[in-house]
């Protein structure tokens, strides 16, 4: 299948290859030369779409279909196993493929058989398939006709055979590769992608994709960097491949940030390793089996006694973890800053153990800390982004730096992140948002968003005359804290519960909301109830402005509030604080028919949002993916 190429490609390192491969020159030439088709069949293809050359079917990362992920996995497994010599590996993996279907072995391959052999691959790897078809279409006449014809002519037996073979492979592969390894590969790819983007543009000629389908664009993007910079992968993705067994174990320790808790075997495994012994809530809500539902308040004393036994845990991290657990630190920014500051402590006290490199050991350490924090409370998106940043910085520390220099660099990097992405960003948001407040406005806010609070205080300092409606909801009643702070400053406030939102929406002129995260389909993921407020505001034709720092943006997409969420303490619902007369449910908490659902977040559809105010300016929700893309580029460049 690596047959389509320009004769020129002999000197060009960007070649289509099978399996895991490096950009090493001899390898690619070896592959090319025995191919008779290379020069015969389709020179126009490669000239028209040069991107096709650098495409690698292997490197398509997202395993959407079962069949399509067999190949990347295969590559991953092999990579993990024999990462020492990647170049030799690319051959070994190729040897595994069923002969007629995959390997374009010299001499034996005629035109027809080549295409035939190509088709099954296309069927199992949609991205590549589309690419190849598109490439073929864009090429000159013979290629097109040939492809279509051979699709029709393809003997069914062959394809079935291939598929079944792949299935077998994948099965054995899945057994072989652990989850951590698979994840390691993905991370490596991500790192490589990022790294390539950093210096990518110059080297690679701008891709003229023309008719090539969107999936292939993706493939090209991921593949390109890897083909050029495999060395970066090894150095940059420290997690990954070459780490010793101890590191691998630690990787396994880390529960996946979005682990599905309805998978019992995994939960049992994760539990065995967990530091924090959580007891599961008794009456779990069926719809939310996939989320962790623990009893709250039981783990704290246990953890406190463990304090002196937990050698590997840094005290700063431990403290932050306990604060998360007890709810002392809440709110995306506060949690993120606390975590980063703990990491700064970690870096400060860090010394590289003998026979280890700083990059890898520290990443492993951070990962284990993160897994501890996840056990205390699931990560917020902002924290996830910050962790990604920290790991990225560690990975990209030049090896030439001495330990103290590296530590200083890391600490200042983290400091910069806190300053730029959170503190300065908030100031910029305030500057933007204040321009939207006019005299006589009645502003509504929900919960206790820090950014909005800053906006309101600033507007008050500017002597704007406005009134604030603080809408609150059970069980946290965070609005009361905000209410108190605003009143202390002399701002005129009205307080109510979320149920009364329709009653007070008549007088509101603008709604200001905070966000835990903004997802790339424009969905605002925020404190539960935000969606209700935005919906009612929308129904009353009141503009909804969301204040959110750009570091909280995420490329994930989400349509509902169920697939990914966090569950709070169910007992907080059955008991009403400060209202002893409400005790209807006191004796019923153990009844199997009764469940309490304490959702923490919900997803607000983007059509309710008029504007998102970020540190990059005021944008409509449709522009979020643009910012996500731009931000991540910058994220790497910083």
């Amino acid at each position: 299948m690596e047959s389509r190429r320009n004769p020129r490609a002999v000197v060009d390192p960007k070649v289509r290859q099978v399996g895991f491969f490096t950009s090493s020159q001899p390898d690619s030439t070896q592959q090319q030369q025995p191919d008779p088709i290379a020069s015969v069949s389709s020179p126009p293809v490669s000239t028209i779409s040069p991107s096709g050359n650098s495409l690698s079917p292997v490197m398509i990362p997202p395993p959407r279909h079962n069949s399509s992920d067999t190949f990347p996995l295969r590559g991953a497994a092999a990579a993990a196993a024999s990462a020492v010599s990647p170049s030799s590996f690319s051959y070994s993996s190729r040897r595994d493929f069923p002969d007629g279907s995959m390997t374009a072995s010299p001499g034996r391959v005629s035109r027809g058989s080549f295409v035939k052999s190509y088709v099954p691959v296309a069927s199992s790897l949609p991205g590549v398939g589309i690419d190849s078809m598109a490439a073929a279409k864009s090429s000159s006449v013979p290629a097109t006709g040939l492809t279509t014809v051979s699709v029709v002519n393809m003997p069914p037996g062959l394809s079935e055979e291939v598929q079944s073979d792949q299935k077998n492979n994948s099965k054995s592969l899945k057994e072989k590769t652990t989850k951590a390894e698979r994840r390691a590969l993905q991370e490596a790819q991500r790192a490589a992608k990022a790294a390539a983007k950093a210096e990518g543009g110059g080297k690679v000629p701008p891709v003229t994709l023309g008719s090539v389908a969107g999936t292939s664009v993706k493939a090209a993007k991921t593949a390109k960097p890897t083909s050029q910079k495999n060395d970066v992968v090894v150095a940059a993705g420290p997690s990954e491949k070459k780490g010793g067994p101890s590191e691998k174990d630690r990787k396994k320790d880390a529960p996946h940030p979005r682990m599905q808790y309805d998978d019992e075997s995994r939960v049992v495994k994760a539990k065995r390793r967990a530091v924090v012994k959580q007891t599961e809530a008794k009456n779990r809500v069926e719809l939310f089996r996939h989320l962790p539902q623990y009893e709250h308040g039981t783990q704290l004393p246990d953890l406190e006694t463990k304090f002196f036994q937990l050698d590997p845990m840094h005290p700063a991290v431990y403290k932050v973890g306990l604060q998360y657990l007890s709810g002392d630190i809440a709110g995306g920014n506060a949690r993120c800053i606390a975590m980063l500051q703990a990491f700064q402590e970690v870096v400060k006290d860090y010394s590289t153990p003998p026979e280890k490199t700083l990059n890898r050991d520290m990443t492993a350490k951070i990962s284990s800390y993160v897994s501890f924090l996840i056990e205390c409370r699931p990560l917020s998106v902002s924290m996830g982004n910050a962790i990604r940043f920290v790991k990225n910085r560690i990975a990209k520390l030049p090896i030439t730096l001495s330990e103290s220099e590296a530590k200083a660099a890391l600490q200042s990097d983290i400091e910069t992140f806190i300053n730029e992405k959170i503190i300065v960003a908030d100031n910029v948001i305030v500057k933007h948002a204040v321009t939207k407040i006019r005299d006589g406005d009645v502003l509504l806010t929900y919960g206790s968003p820090t950014a909005v609070e800053m906006v309101l205080l600033r507007a008050h300092e500017l002597r704007k005359k406005f009134r604030v409606l603080v809408v609150d909801s059970r069980p946290k009643l965070e609005g009361q804290l905000l209410l108190r702070r605003l009143i202390k400053r002399g701002i005129n406030c009205t307080y109510t519960h979320i149920n009364a939102i329709s009653y007070i929406m008549h007088e509101v002129t603008k709604v200001f909301l905070g966000a835990s995260s903004v997802l790339s389909n424009g969905t605002v993921y925020s404190r539960v109830g935000t969606a209700c407020v935005a919906m009612v505001a929308n129904a009353f034709r009141v503009p909804v402005l969301v204040c959110c720092e750009a570091y909280k943006f995420h490329e994930r997409v989400q349509l509902d509030s169920i697939c990914s969420n966090e569950l709070g303490d169910p007992n907080a619902i059955s008991k009403v604080r400060g209202r002893e007369d409400i005790n209807y449910l006191d004796g019923l908490t153990n009844n199997t028919n009764l469940q309490f659902l304490n959702l923490m977040y919900d997803a607000t559809p983007s059509d309710y949002i008029s504007m998102i105010i970020t540190d990059y300016g005021m944008v409509p929700p449709t522009s979020v993916p643009v910012i996500v893309r731009e931000y991540q580029k910058e994220h790497v460049l910083v």
Binding site: Y503, C532, S561, L585
Partner: protein, 408 residues
């Protein structure tokens, strides 16, 4: 009638202090009070209907003024008035039909007609009376009798029928009897509306359904339990309904009856509505345009349901049908409760005091009781007479109330 008067005063006080909660309880008390008013009212021989109506109206006005937000009181008063008018009309038409048959050419008949204000012939009177009792038909439309035929009739002075005294006295006794009979029927209807509505549950709830409800309504409770008794297994989400937490009460009852119940916070309504098959709520009152007044937070749930195309079903007994068209009901037909339900005064006393000196306090607390759902958000009304569209409500109301009572 001192005892009736004292009962009225007592009830008015209860209403004023909001001691009676729930429209069904209020309706029941009201109708029982009105029954004793009617039974103890000494009816004059002449024009007894008008006298009865006046008496009921006088009491009704007091009751409505005591709690104008509790629309069930007004509804029941109007229902009773309607019963009186209907019974009177049917008696008169029956009597007149008899007269017509007996002595059709008698001039006394003409006299009688003049006396009660009809310029037309007695046949027209009968037709008019029929037209108010029976559903409109093509025949009545063709005859062109004015619909308001009963208006002058009921308010007419009783200067007639000197010659028919004996006949009339029998009618008098019969009228009061019939009215009390009718009122008893109304009491029965109000008491039995839960069962009537619950009977329809099985037609609306299917297996494995997920139902969201809000607030605490006995109608909803009975409705869900009726479906449960028919061996349907389904799941109920109950929004807790802060700050009154009536959802907790409902959840407790549901759990006691063995239903799978999940209590959610009010803020999670939007998050959960995408997994809900149907929203069922009990109304506080149903307006003539099909709008619903319900527990606070209902409008939010209705909007969310509309967004996700989830049917929004309102259960309402017929005593909740209000013949008025609402204007700005969120404010005008609402009631603000104590702020202490939202904020602990001890906690915020300094903030509240802060504004006391300057005249306007910095902190205000809003705690409304009701919420209005416009008719376009309601999918279906289930009343004791069956399911209806919001757009049909005005017609149902025409069945229960007579037009002259709308403004009391």
């Amino acid at each position: 009638m001192p005892d009736v008067q004292s009962m009225v005063v007592e009830f008015v006080n209860k209403l004023r202090k909001r001691k009676i909660e729930g429209s069904q309880a209020t309706a029941k008390y009201t109708v029982e009070l009105l029954r004793s008013v009617i039974s103890q009212h000494r009816v004059p021989h002449a024009n007894q209907a008008a006298a009865l109506i006046d008496a009921v109206k006088a009491v009704g006005e007091q009751l409505v003024a005591a709690n104008p937000v509790e629309l069930a009181v007004g509804n029941v008063v109007r229902r009773v008035l309607h019963i009186i008018r209907e019974e009177d009309l049917s008696l008169t038409t029956a009597a007149m039909a008899g007269l017509d048959l007996l002595d059709a050419s008698d001039d006394d008949d003409e006299d009688n007609c003049k006396g009660i204000g009809y310029p037309a012939m007695s046949a027209a009177v009968v037709a008019a009376a029929r037209s108010t009792l029976r559903p409109p038909s093509l025949q009545t439309l063709l005859e062109g009798t004015p619909e308001s035929a009963t208006v002058p009739y009921t308010s007419s002075s009783g200067a007639d029928s000197e010659s028919k005294t004996a006949d009339k006295s029998s009618i008098t006794r019969k009228l009061k009897h019939d009215v009390i009979e009718g009122v008893n029927q109304l009491i029965h209807e109000i008491a039995g509306c839960h069962e009537q509505i619950a009977e329809q549950a099985i037609e609306h709830i299917h297996q494995n359904e997920v139902i969201l409800t809000l607030g605490s309504s006995r109608t909803v409770l009975e409705f869900l339990c009726a479906a449960k008794e028919k061996k349907r297994s389904f799941r109920v989400f109950v929004a807790e309904g802060a700050p009154r937490y009536q959802g907790h009460l409902l959840a407790k009852e549901l759990v006691a009856r063995g239903l799978q119940t999940t209590v959610i916070t009010d803020s999670a309504v939007f998050a959960m509505i995408s997994r809900v098959n149907m929203v069922i709520i009990g109304a506080h009152a149903v307006m003539a345009n099909g709008g619903v007044i319900g527990p606070v937070g209902v409008n939010m749930a209705a909007l969310a349901a509309q967004k996700h195309a989830v049917p929004f079903v309102v259960l309402a007994g017929s005593h909740k049908l209000c013949p008025l068209y609402p204007h700005n009901p969120e404010v005008l037909l609402n009631e603000l409760r104590s702020p202490s339900e939202l904020l602990d005064f001890g906690e915020f006393s300094d903030c509240l005091d802060f504004g006391a000196g300057s005249g306007s306090p910095l902190l205000q607390v809003v705690n409304p009781t009701f919420d209005y759902v416009p008719p376009n958000l309601v999918s279906l009304f289930i009343t004791d007479t069956g399911g209806h569209n919001p757009s049909y409500m005005y017609r149902l109301i025409a069945d229960y109330y007579s037009a002259d009572d709308l403004v009391m």
